[in-house]
């Protein structure tokens, strides 16, 4: 049961800090059990209990900050940022490109389409599918940086790398002007979009206070 107001505030704070729903529900469940245990300790009145809960558990905002900090510490990319944001984008992009090509080929076979001799809208769809892996990779690494609380420069590094690879791909392939621009501009645009979101969340978390640390009685 616990204290519904305190738990609702905790849930809200955790949600605003971008933690996943399963984690929010799990922490809320454990805190609810913990509050029930605290309430079962004595026979204080309800008003006293609310005060005691705040004293024992700390504020919901501080706990949410601590939870977000600890949650992000367990990310692989926190411990290996170079590997994650400089090396991994290449295999991820290759895998997505392979999947995209297979999908394009499959669609072409099913509908008996040839992108080079088909009407312009078919060409747009075919080349559009080749552009999607770059955009998807950029989104994946930006989201990873955002959810793990990594400095934004790591996401920018991944997106710059993807933009360079996009440019190289465009130069090696058929030089369609629109496609060249899209390959290079898309990852960078996505990076800036996520950057804005990241800065907003960061400012919000700073305004809400510093992460709560366990304290020593003095």
């Amino acid at each position: 049961m616990g204290n519904p107001l305190w738990l609702d505030e905790l849930r809200q704070q955790l949600f605003e800090l971008g933690l996943p729903r399963w984690y929010i529900e799990r922490l809320a469940e454990e805190m609810s059990d913990h509050i029930t245990d605290i309430l079962e300790e004595g026979t204080s009145m309800e008003a006293k209990n609310a005060k005691r809960i705040a004293e024992r558990l700390g504020g919901a905002g501080a706990l949410a900050q601590a939870a977000a900090t600890e949650y992000r510490k367990s990310f692989f990319c926190r411990n290996h940022p170079l590997l994650t944001f400089l090396v991994l984008p290449v295999p991820v992009l290759l895998i997505l490109l392979g999947m995209s090509l297979l999908l394009s080929f499959g669609i072409g076979c099913v509908f008996r389409l040839d992108p080079f001799s088909s009407p312009s809208r078919v060409r747009v769809i075919a080349f559009g599918m080749l552009w999607i892996p770059f955009a998807l990779s950029a989104i994946v690494f930006c989201r990873l940086a955002l959810s793990s609380g990594q400095p934004w420069r790591w996401a920018m590094l991944s997106c710059s790398l993807l933009a360079v690879l996009g440019g190289v791909d465009a130069l090696l392939g058929l030089s369609l002007h629109v496609r060249d621009v899209i390959f290079i501009v898309t990852p960078v645009t996505i990076a800036f979009g996520f950057s804005w979101q990241w800065r907003r969340k960061r400012r919000q978390s700073i305004l809400e206070g510093q992460p709560h640390q366990p304290s020593v009685e003095t």
């Binding site: 913990h34 366990p214 304290s215 009685e217 003095t218």
Partner: protein, 118 residues
């Protein structure tokens, strides 16, 4: 009452205490907090809620394993140490003893040795 935060050199202490308490038997969060309080004579006053994010991180790192069990008639999430956690605990204790010994030696040397600055 305003609480002071731990000084930086106490980083890792809550983790070591959690692993120590869980090395004896599996516990749920509330039980764990009470055990730490009892064992440390309440010298450390943790914000009780803060124990859960640390438990979740230790679980994600593979040091703890969590199961849902019925304890005194209620369904609870019970934490137990994994083999990796046992190894981590041994390493943490060895490191702590090494640091503690070095600090004690330095502090005792300070009483009998030459002053570092004239």
């Amino acid at each position: 009452m305003k609480k002071r935060t731990n000084p930086p050199f106490l980083n890792g202490v809550p983790e070591m205490l959690i692993l120590h308490v869980l090395s004896r038997h599996a516990m749920h969060g509330y039980e764990l907090v009470q055990a730490i309080k009892a064992e440390t004579d309440a010298a450390f006053e943790f914000g009780e809620g803060c124990i859960y994010p640390i438990l979740h991180r230790l679980e994600a790192q593979g040091h703890l394993h969590v199961t849902r069990e019925t304890v005194t008639g209620r369904r609870r999430l019970v934490y137990r140490l994994t083999n990796k956690g046992k190894k981590q605990f041994c390493e943490a204790v060895a490191c702590w003893q090494r640091v503690n010994k070095a600090i004690m030696r330095a502090l005792q040397g300070g009483e009998h040795g030459e002053p570092a600055l004239a």
